[in-house]
Amino acid sequence: MGMKILNSYRLSDFYEYVDETLDIYSKTIKVKMLKNINISDYTSSKGLKKLPKATKNAIVSSIACTNNILTEEEKKDLGIFVGTSLSYVEHGLQFMSPAYESSPRLVSPLMFPNTVLNSISGWISIVLGSKSINTTINTGQNSGIDALKVALEFLHSKAINKALVVVTEEIAKSVVESDLLSSNYYMEDTFALLLTLDNDDEQNFNYEIEEIYSKYVTKDKFLQHIMVIDEDFPDEEKNAIYGFWKEDIVRNADYYFVNDINMLSCTSINQFFHCIQDNKYDNIIISENNKSGMFSYLKVRKNVRKVKNE
């Protein structure tokens, strides 16, 4: 049974970018930074203004994705799953800067929690009032897809009946440095997806995530897997594959695309959003890899029952 997408929210659909450049190791990196958001426009919760950008963006996206959809009571049982990769490096730098400037006796105890890897999912649960499962997944570039996979499995186990998956990245000099300057062009964003397995209302969603694959495996094995999926695409349907590979292996997909802007773990989720917003494909494969030998994909299917009734 697939996960139905009850609601989705992409921060960059509502907030503008600012173009900036970062000079690192004699290299100039272009970055599209999201404008800073005034979090008090979204919540009256205290102590949020000085949170790191990735955390604030995740909170705002979570509120926007769940408000008017879930009751306060439903939010208590909501599972929170965050995918993120290198933002923690910047949060560590912000915390440690007073230690380098003068003394570790002057580091801020208020900023220390930001350095703990689960602080983003923790803050979301505090602001939304979720008392259920709460985790942050960090598997590099694959973090977004892996967070979806963990959510899917907890939904299947019936530990929760709704999941909020949030994928967020903050781009800063320290982040690009730890990404080994792997791209000349980075972009920030944050995504939120409200998901369920419940099938009460067949009209209430456009797409469902049918399958999620994530493995430490050789690239050849992974591409063989993709080729099989590609071959199985029905001819009469419109199919899209987002991939990272250059090999000519995709034959049946109507649309195969790659992206040259690095959004870290948001990269693949961004492509996923493009596809579901376009709303013109019946089958979508979104794949990703994290350079540690971990490969993943999402297999997404249009809600055929809804289409039939339209």
Partner: protein
């Protein structure tokens, strides 16, 4: 729906009181204290001087990050202990608090504009903590995940592994918790005035804090069917869990302990047990005044004050993401050997901690059901219940 029974068939541990399960357990029963004076390149020692570093640990993989090195050692022992072929492993799931602590070195260079070695920078990519360990151990074709759930990270990985086997998604999963000694954590907890002046004394009237530590714990989980087919030795079964969030404060526990109470009650409900059936509780027991007071209150309310309780953090300090995995190992060994490990450094009972804290030396006791509790930053709580493996076949009575 038929659910698989989940059993523990292999263990691996590296801690400041033992770099393998045998040594760890022997010292654990004796109440040996492994915490000592902190020594680390680039660290400035503040008022608190003690920590739980594993000073004799030497990895045969010198180019990797320390968390990765610890993870390799723990995995290696657990795999050997369970006599697994590498191709049998379906998943390796890992919990952590800080991940790889290489940023303790790179951030200073970043701050001063000094170029960092790329070998260090790639260790900041936490996927390499997992990927490098798998590559070193020649493990391929497995699903992996890094659960960042701070001090309950190990339990989160274990629960995910438990559900995956129970629901038939996998037969063999290794679940781990790992963290290396973090300078950031040391400075952070110091500024929160949460670090003990000398010893970690959970539930003692004179306790004054926790001690930042490091370590790894790994448990091999198998479906009973898979384990029996191989005639595996079985340490224990896993029969239930509860997870909750305080939804209260990022680093202060809920004053009424409502989140930890919820996690415990969910676990009992899942396992279909009454509180009085629990024979041993491995407490979170950090040694901070606030945690131990709230945890004791909840444990007393639910279990009364007879069930033996201990915190091994008194011996090894708080090994962060490794803590709940190592404590899960303690639950398994307690069940197998019929011994309750002690809480070391426990000299004076705190009247505000009205629980049966086992002080300083182990106690003999037959343990059928053991509970492992872990609580974390951001109010992330997880309780797991282990059962003595009796070999009998059961089905629906232990399903939710």
């Amino acid at each position: 729906m038929k659910r698989n029974k989940v059993v523990v068939t292999g263990l691996g541990v590296v801690s400041s009181i033992g770099e393998n399960v045998f040594e760890f357990w022997r010292n654990c029963l004796d109440g040996k204290v492994g915490t000592n004076k902190i020594e680390k390149e680039g660290i400035e020692i503040l008022n608190a001087t003690q920590g739980g570093q594993i000073k004799n640990f030497k990895s045969t993989y010198p180019g990797l990050g320390r968390s990765c090195q610890l993870l390799i050692a723990g995995l290696d022992e657990a795999i050997a202990d369970s006599n697994l072929n590498l191709s049998e492993i379906d998943r390796i799931l890992i919990g952590t608090t800080m991940g790889e602590t290489t940023i303790d070195y790179t951030l200073k260079n970043t701050f001063f504009g000094i170029e960092n070695p790329s070998t260090f920078l790639r260790q900041n990519q936490l996927n390499n903590l997992v990927g490098d360990a798998l590559k070193a151990l020649k493990i391929e074709d497995v699903e992996t995940c890094l659960f960042c759930n701070a001090c309950s990270g190990g339990n989160y990985a274990l629960i995910s592994g438990f559900e995956s086997i129970r629901n038939g998604l996998a037969d063999v999963i290794i679940v781990c918790g790992v963290d290396s000694f973090s300078t950031i954590a040391y400075y952070g907890f110091s500024r929160l005035n949460a670090i003990a002046s000398e010893y970690c004394r959970p539930f003692d009237e004179n306790r004054d804090g926790m001690l930042v530590a490091e370590g790894v714990g790994c448990l091999v989980l198998e479906s009973e069917k898979h384990a029996k087919a191989k005639n595996q030795k079985i340490y224990a079964e896993i029969i239930g869990y509860g997870m909750s969030s305080d939804a209260f404060h990022i680093n202060v526990p809920h004053p009424e302990g409502s989140g930890i109470e919820l996690a415990i009650k969910k676990a009992l409900d899942y396992a279909n047990l009454l509180p009085e059936q629990i024979d041993y509780i491995s407490a979170h027991g950090t040694g901070t005044i606030a945690n131990d007071k709230i945890e004791s209150k909840i444990l007393e309310n639910i279990f009364g004050n007879e069930v033996p309780i201990s915190s091994i953090k008194s011996m090894i300090g708080h090994s962060m993401g490794a803590a709940s995995s190592i404590e899960a190992i303690v639950c398994c060994l307690s069940i197998v050997h019929g011994k309750v490990p002690p809480t070391a450094n426990n000299l004076k009972k705190d009247p505000e901690c009205n629980i049966n804290c086992v002080p300083n030396i182990y106690q003999d006791k037959e343990i059928v059901y053991a509970m492992n509790n872990s609580y974390a930053f951001a109010g992330s709580n997880a309780s797991v219940i282990f059962k003595k493996y009796l070999g009998e076949s059961y089905g629906d009575e232990n399903t939710k």
